[in-house]
Amino acid sequence: MNDTTDNNQQPFEDAIEELLAGELDESSADRLKQAAATDQELASAIVDAWTLRKSLDELELEQVSPALEKRLLDIPSKQKTTSKWSSWFNFSNWQTGSGWALSSALAMSLILAIGVSRQPDQSEILQARQDIQLALTYLGKSLNQADQLTRDELSMQVHKILTTRPDNPNTQTDARIQDEPERIDQL
């Protein structure tokens, strides 16, 4: 773009704009009007500028719909809700003690859920035993790292799951797990 050419035209343009805005001083306005009387191009430019100015003045701001306005006003509450949920899934939080505790609890839940769904075969029982051992190792780490409240809650939950559920099919499975190695030894 050639700014030099535009700058040469601009005082002329500025004067027209100031005239239309009523900001041009009286003597300058008179000079411009006198020049326009003999300069057809200038007169035409003033008329065009006036037409454009008048049309632009008539344009109104677009109005947002009530639905959009409501969405905008609701942004603070919506954003807070999103951040609360997203914080649960924020991986960086999982490096802390509570993250360890949560991961261990999830691993334990998964193992128990598998046990609840059906009776396992021999290889699955062995795998489950290894998984439980692994989960308990993680749990041990969790207990060391989690705060007191989390520790208490986890201890209670694990105690409840492993020892105080007489109607849980896993209780029978646990008994079989204890029995199976003996039978293998006998064979």
Binding site: S44, A45, D48, E60, E62, V64, L68, I75, P76, Q79
Partner: protein, 161 residues
């Protein structure tokens, strides 16, 4: 902070939306941009708790519009036609010159289109526009001159007679 945010919504939502409508020529997309702009405002308020100027709002909205226009061009490789689903200000106009003018503004390139909308429709000062568009005061004047010149050359001759 929430109250401050809602005041900002009430005060400037129509200006942000108008800029987006003129730039994108699509009310649905203009609504998206307006919402995205205010989400960014909220996130900024949460982080800094600072006053955010209306210039900042319009700058963010404009940048969002430019991104969308670029995406459109990448997809279609051509200048999009003017959308049919226009808002109340478009639909209610009686004056043919007004319609022509809106279409002409929409067809201006950047930064001319933003300058006409910000200066001639939204009545911002040269200084505010310079801040919003991150250009100098003299550039604002030069570009505005060019934008008006482009519009004037397209003025229907019947109207100037």
């Amino acid at each position: 902070m929430k109250q401050h945010f809602q005041t900002m919504v009430k005060q400037h939502q129509n200006r942000v939306y108008t800029l987006a409508v003129y730039m994108l020529r699509d009310h649905a997309e203009a609504e998206d941009i307006t919402q995205e702009t205010y989400i960014k405002l909220w996130q900024r308020l949460e982080k800094t708790n600072e006053e955010v100027s209306r210039a900042w709002l319009l700058q963010v909205a404009r940048n969002g519009c430019i991104d969308r226009i670029r995406k459109r061009r990448r997809l279609t490789n051509e200048v999009p036609e003017i959308e049919d689903h226009r808002g109340p200000a478009f639909q209610m106009e009686q004056d043919q010159l007004g319609k022509w003018l809106k279409d002409s503004i929409a067809n201006l390139g950047e930064p001319y289109r933003s300058l006409i909308v910000l200066r001639d429709i939204q009545q911002y000062s040269y200084n505010e526009i310079a801040e919003m568009l991150e250009i100098s005061l003299s550039q604002v004047k030069v570009y505005l001159f060019r934008a008006r010149q482009q519009l004037r050359t397209k003025l229907p001759k019947a109207e100037t007679a």
